[in-house]
Symmetry: C2
Subunit: 323 residues, 2 copies
């Protein structure tokens, strides 16, 4: 199996790469697992702390460079995990860049995959940020995307195209809509949801962090550990299991910020929780508060996708894995 991870230097991409190298094999479309012979980590940015491994190929290139992609795809590829994106905050502030990377590069990539003629598997990191409406809404599997951000729009567009390219047999696409991933290791980034990780990660290391929304605000979250499992599940599921719709809302946990702070106190003490400041941020609120925190993911659960049991487990996993 030759695998490409676009966005392989991001924290999920890297965790996924390490897990794949560790597993050593993967199945596609319900077949028997086969050994992984090559794993290409493709990212504009350099990944740090990678293991020495003969199967690992690191490429620091731009996904918008179609000539580079063409060369990359010239050798048979079995699976593409596609996590490369301009994050929500940046795509909102820089419309052209968001359109370029989150839409146009994907249009080109889909065409290049179609040209291969053998329908490679492509697992695309979509987002529950495709939804946006009244916060009281409960999102079900059939609920339509009504994004209130350009990022959400671009993800929803690619969902549709992945479905059509798969229906026509050009690729074996799977578009998994990710909840807010928490707790992210590393540093805060331009994702509008970045603070949801920061308010736990930073105080646990004695650093301050700002929460731009009220403690009552709720979010739909999933841990990095479970999202990595879910990428692999999406790849391995047979094409038919999706019943003609290869887009799925991933299961998650509806979590009030207050519950996260409470759990932070349990593991880090009162002094950790006091490192959180509560300055509202209108720009961040205008995006993150349109994301629905309540989803009924009947299809995702039926397909076998995983979620976390509670916030305490999520924080403990972060401490064990990333601190």
């Amino acid at each position: 199996m030759r695998i490409i991870i676009f966005g392989g230097a991001g924290f999920i991409g890297k965790k996924l790469a390490l897990e794949l190298l560790n597993l050593g094999e993967i199945a596609i479309d319900g077949s028997e697992p086969k050994p992984i012979s090559e794993l290409v980590l493709f990212d504009k940015f350099k990944a740090e702390g990678l293991p020495t491994d003969d199967r690992l190929v690191v490429m620091n290139e731009d996904i918008c460079d179609s000539a580079v992609i063409e060369k990359l795809l010239a050798k048979h590829v079995d699976v593409i995990f596609h996590l490369a994106a301009i994050v929500s905050g940046e795509a909102e502030k820089n419309f052209d860049l968001g359109m370029q990377v989150n839409l146009h590069a994907n249009l080109t990539l889909l065409e290049q995959c179609r040209a291969l003629g053998y329908a490679p598997t492509m697992v695309f990191a979509s987002s529950c940020g495709v939804f946006g409406g009244e916060l009281t809404d409960v999102i079900e599997d059939h609920t339509g995307p009504t994004p209130k951000s350009s990022y959400g729009t671009q993800k929803a567009v690619v969902d549709l195209l992945i479905n059509d390219y798969t229906r026509r047999g050009f690729i074996k696409g799977r578009s998994i809509r990710l909840p807010t991933i928490a707790i992210r290791p590393g540093k805060p980034n331009a994702a509008t949801s970045s603070f949801i990780s920061s308010i736990i990660r930073e105080p646990l290391q004695g650093k301050p962090a700002n929460c731009p929304v009220s403690a009552e605000s709720k979010f739909w979250i999933l841990s990095p550990k479970k999202v990595v499992e879910n990428f692999i599940i999406a790849c391995e599921l047979p094409n038919e299991a999706w019943k003609g719709n290869w887009v799925v809302n991933l299961p998650g946990l509806t979590t009030p910020i207050a519950d996260m702070v409470e759990q932070l106190e349990v593991v880090g003490g009162k002094e950790a929780a006091e490192l959180i400041t509560w300055e509202p941020d209108e720009f961040l609120q205008s995006i993150v508060l349109t994301w629905p925190p309540e989803l009924v993911t009947t299809k995702g659960i039926a397909l076998g996708f995983k979620k976390d049991e509670n916030v305490g487990e999520i924080i403990q996993a972060f401490i064990d894995e990333d601190l």
Copy 2:
């Protein structure tokens, strides 16, 4: 007011043009109506039977030619009615052509409108063909698109982009999802729904027509007269009335084919109904039988969009207007 109709030589585009010339004025975004000074009929194909009118400018050009579009937009434009498309059957058979016209040309057009800097009004002809699933489903306003055709996919993608460009203030977009339009005058075309008009239109003129689905099959239909009214309503509604979502499923009439044939007998006699042949067509069925015939269009009705009262009225309007 300077108005452009893309797809102006199609039967709806032409009816819309004649209605606008007749009205002589139009409002945009809830403002007072103003006189129409120029009406550009843009189409790859020649429109026949146009009236002589100083306000009318006919352009036979390709919407995929971005240089032509740029020139067209160099002079201030108030309203764009966008009906140009590769129809469902053709977009399914010729994937590249469908993507070119129904997706890429629109991406370019949206960017060219954004570059104008003054947010022209754009009413886009989307389609209830964005839906596709179990025929027992009832489609509501919040139901997500799950197209089972490339045409439906391309329309659903443009819906999303029109919403985002409007939310950001680049255009004042309105995407109206058209039911199957019946009875279409003229000749059968490559739209997979073409037969729904043919089985009435042809027998009324003593000609045979084939119905590729069973008499029990139901469709969501709207007359040409009402769709023209709805294009103008969409243009005139204030931006705020749409409440942050400028896409709407148009009201229509759930109609079994049997009801249409019954009404054909009423006006054309038994000999007219006997001109219908009933040869199934797998390709047509694979698309049209995924279209939901039952929609609850609460939003469309609240916004004031119009529908027909019954099939008899639709057939009578066709006889009066087009025969």
